[in-house]
């Protein structure tokens, strides 16, 4: 591409063009390279996928599945956010004893594969909204806790001292120093945790062998050996996930601007 | 300080440049040998409308030490980039040993302020790098690298990695590596600027002692007038906005020079005063 075409289209236009060309190439490779050389048992053609998506949207199965998965993800995320924050505050602000006891628990849960909870929870509660949310929350809370702890531990204690010397109490310290400071880390934590929440929700649905949610659709389509169904659901899942990632980036950038002005991603340490 | 550096360096050079064309003595003016570097009416801009270099005419004799000095932004580093073939002149001709420079100029070695040592290699292996690239066998290249390290006072540090060396030692290592490259022309862009004054003087002295034995051409960039007078056979003073040559002066101080004492010599003081007044007018 020569430089002049950039100028003509403008930066935004150039990006749009780039995505169109790129996705066009992807579709072309899919249609003319992948489909002819692979079995239709596991690779569906774009046209078949499109048709499948059409029928899924018209009979509402797609919307209800997306709704189910998203609600599991969001509720689990909210719970994980709350628990993670409370833990971070407890570990960071209470006596060191509490921190030393709780922190290994947080790190341990963070490094463990969360999906192992699925079979156990299935035995206790069977399939249901609750167990799925529990697994999502179990994945989210350590992420939030670790990032928030990072923020709490790097608070500039000189600023806190100055505030206290001016007569500020804990309300002032929390509101004026702590919250803005850890908001940066929290935003990053949310951008990491929210897409994860969706992935976990889908994964749990798959493991529970359910028929509801995006994972449920995938299970049904696997049982039916329907490649178009699987691919259509995956495309839908990708769109949801991409929207979620984009949304969190936008919200993150806006919140950062609110707290830190125009500092490009920066904050005072 | 290092013991017969001239002969050692000459041996190193001979071993590396067997078969290269004859190079004249310092005082010889062999007219059949082309200048090591020749810029003819060279201009350069980065394409943004600001002229970085304008109408540069410069000729460097083989084996000469030419120092480019000037205020920031006068294009002296850009000039080195042109000679190295990193960029091409916008207009004008650039010849190296009589041959036009096209693409990266392999007869050049470029030593910059921030060294390009490989962090995972020992000092010995870093120094030996040019030999390794040329395919010299391990025993031989280690032998010659050890000699170069000895010349630069790094024998004790041979097994250390760059992050374990001080700034001065790293500069010396970079120098040792330059010695082992077979480049006929060495470009140095403020190589010792990041060092403290004492170390800088020591390294300048080292450079002079090593250079006496070698027959490489040296084009040296600095913003330090004392350094320029101490090191150079010829000083080229450049001005900025746009970058151009303001004047050239021979440095008539005989070799061997003592870098620390040079600045007290009357010839040096005279030269310093002259150059400084021109530089000063540039800085206003």
């Amino acid at each position: 591409m020569n430089p002049r075409s950039w100028q003509v289209l403008g930066h935004g236009g150039a990006e749009v063009l780039r995505w169109v060309v790129s996705l066009g190439l992807l579709l072309a490779v899919w249609q003319w390279l992948l489909v002819p050389h692979t079995s239709s048992v596991f690779v569906a053609a774009p046209s078949a996928v499109w048709r499948e998506l059409g029928s899924m949207t018209s009979d509402g199965s797609l919307w209800s599945a997306v709704g189910t998965t998203l609600s599991e993800a969001l509720v689990g995320f909210a719970i994980g956010l709350g628990v993670g924050l409370v833990l971070a505050l407890a570990i960071g602000l209470m006596t060191p004893l509490v921190g030393k006891l709780l922190e290994p628990v947080v790190t341990g849960v963070y490094t463990s594969p969360k999906f192992v909870l699925a079979p156990i929870l299935f035995i206790w509660f069977g399939d249901g909204f609750g167990p799925r949310v529990i697994v999502v929350a179990a994945d989210v809370f350590p992420v939030i806790a670790i990032y928030a702890l990072g923020g709490i531990r790097t608070v500039n204690t000189d600023v806190v001292l100055a505030l206290r010397l001016y007569g500020g109490g804990w309300r002032h310290v929390t509101g004026k120093v702590l919250v803005p400071h850890i908001s940066g880390d929290l935003i990053t934590a949310v951008t990491v945790a929210l897409p994860r929440a969706i992935t976990i929700a889908i994964g749990v649905e798959i493991l529970f062998g359910t028929t509801t949610g995006i994972g449920g659709l995938l299970n049904t389509d696997t049982d039916l050996f329907s490649a178009p169904g699987v691919w259509a659901t995956l495309v839908a899942g990708t769109v949801i996930s991409a929207l979620c990632i984009a949304l969190t980036q936008v919200i993150g950038a806006a919140t950062r601007r609110h707290f830190f002005g125009d500092q490009a991603g920066g904050r005072n340490r | 300080m290092i013991g017969k550096p001239r002969q050692r360096v000459a041996e190193l050079k001979r071993a590396g440049t067997a078969g290269s064309p004859a190079v004249p003595d310092d005082d010889g003016a062999d007219t059949t040998i082309p200048p090591a570097v020749q810029l003819t009416d060279v201009s350069f801009d980065y394409g943004n409308g600001v002229t970085t270099l304008q109408n540069i005419d410069l000729s460097v004799r083989p084996g000469e030490v030419v120092v480019l000095i000037g205020p920031s932004g006068c294009g002296k580093s850009t000039l080195l980039d042109l000679v190295a073939g990193v960029s091409a002149p916008t207009t004008g001709g650039l010849l190296c040993d009589g041959v036009p420079v096209r693409g990266l100029n392999k007869s050049v070695t470029y030593m910059t302020q921030r060294d390009t040592l490989l962090p995972w290699r020992t000092a010995l292996d870093n120094a030996a790098l040019p030999l390794e690239i040329r395919g010299v066998r391990k025993a031989e290249r280690h032998r010659r690298a050890r000699e170069a390290l000895a010349l630069t006072g790094l024998s004790d540090a041979e097994k250390r990695r760059p992050h374990q060396l001080s700034g001065g030692m790293r500069s010396r290592l970079a120098l040792a590596r330059v010695l082992l490259s077979d480049a006929r022309i060495v470009l140095m862009d403020e190589p010792f600027a990041a060092l403290d004054a004492l170390r800088r003087v020591r390294l300048q002295q080292l450079l002079l002692e090593i250079w006496r034995g070698s027959q490489q051409t040296l084009v040296y960039v600095t913003h330090d007038l004392n350094e320029a007078i101490a090191l150079g056979d010829r000083i080229v003073l450049m001005g900025s906005h746009p970058g151009r040559i303001l004047l050239e002066r021979q440095v008539d101080i005989p070799h061997p020079r003592n870098v620390a004492r040079v600045r007290t010599m009357p010839e040096a003081e005279e030269l310093y005063a002259e150059l400084w007044s021109v530089l000063e007018s540039q800085l206003r």
């Binding site: 341990g108 463990s112 079979p119 798959i206 490649a227 | 050049v108 790098l129 990695r161």
Partner: protein, 279 residues
């Protein structure tokens, strides 16, 4: 120090005057062990048959879990399972790393980056757990399905890492090597390969735990002959909570050990090349 953030210095002083375990690591470990022992004894005490606070049918007694774990270790079954899981994991890594490297190299050209950028972003957004269904259709009930899933997931970690590493290459070093007369392959093995090792180390630090998690997931969904997830699935299907919890505990321990080892090696490597140590 941070505990004075929201309480007053006077309150902090009062707290400090009370008994605190001191910060020596031995005391910290002992405190943690005591705490864990306390929790375990409470669990053991309240666990029991029907009507107990913690019904055994759901969550076994710690003593039972311990003895199940003991059996599994003694008869070596669990190590065989571990071996299978790790083998699949290793195979997935071996497959995905070259792919990631090739892809990253492609994006080093202007055209490559322009075209591939959006494609990779889209592919990254695909919910990888969902891909297992495609791989089931493709490879059926076999370890191949596991390996495919893990490889796809891990590939992105390495891709981004390689890309970063290639972008961070010091062009002045490349230039000086070329001036010394190095050919492109020489620049590759003298500089590029070594320069991206830190990126590979960082990527591996993230990738292996991730791979372990996804491998266990794959084994739970597609239980093949052997594997930790397979074992867990087996015992839960047969309603044997004791052994199931034992396998669960083992999996968690393995995950933590892997993570700790990787962290240790990464830190040691960073130190050896003189970079500030980060975990």
């Amino acid at each position: 120090m941070t505990d004075t953030l929201i309480s007053s210095p006077a309150a902090a002083r009062r707290r400090a005057a009370r008994w605190q375990p001191d910060a020596r690591w031995q005391n910290v470990v002992v405190t943690r062990i005591l705490f864990a022992a306390l929790l375990l004894s409470l669990w053991q005490a309240y666990s029991g048959g029907k009507g107990a606070v913690i019904p055994e049918v759901a969550l076994s007694k710690p003593s039972e879990i311990a003895s199940s774990l003991g059996h599994l270790i003694a008869n070596g079954g669990i190590f065989g399972a571990l071996g299978s899981t790790l083998a699949a994991l290793a195979l997935a890594l071996v497959i995905s790393i070259p792919f990631a490297a090739a892809l990253a190299l492609l994006t080093m050209t202007r055209a490559g980056e322009w075209i591939l950028g959006p494609i990779v972003t889209i592919l990254y957004a695909v919910p990888k757990v969902g891909l297992i269904t495609v791989f089931i259709l493709m490879a059926g009930f076999s370890t191949k399905t596991h390996v495919l899933l893990v490889a796809t997931t891990v590939m992105f970690v390495y891709y981004y890492s390689f890309q970063q590493g290639l972008r961070d290459l010091d062009q002045r070093v490349v230039r000086s090597l070329r001036l010394f007369g190095a050919s492109a392959p020489q620049i590759g093995y003298l500089y590029v390969l070594r320069a991206i090792v830190p990126n590979v180390v960082v990527a591996t630090r993230v990738a292996i735990p991730m791979a372990f998690g996804f491998e266990v997931f794959a084994e739970l969904r597609v239980p093949t002959a052997s594997g930790l997830g397979v074992m867990l699935n087996q015992y839960t299907q047969n309603l044997q909570p004791g052994p199931a919890m034992a396998v669960l505990v083992f999996i968690i321990v393995v995950a933590c050990v892997i993570d700790a080892l990787l962290g240790y090696w990464a830190a040691r490597y960073a130190k050896s090349i003189g970079v500030g140590v980060t975990r």
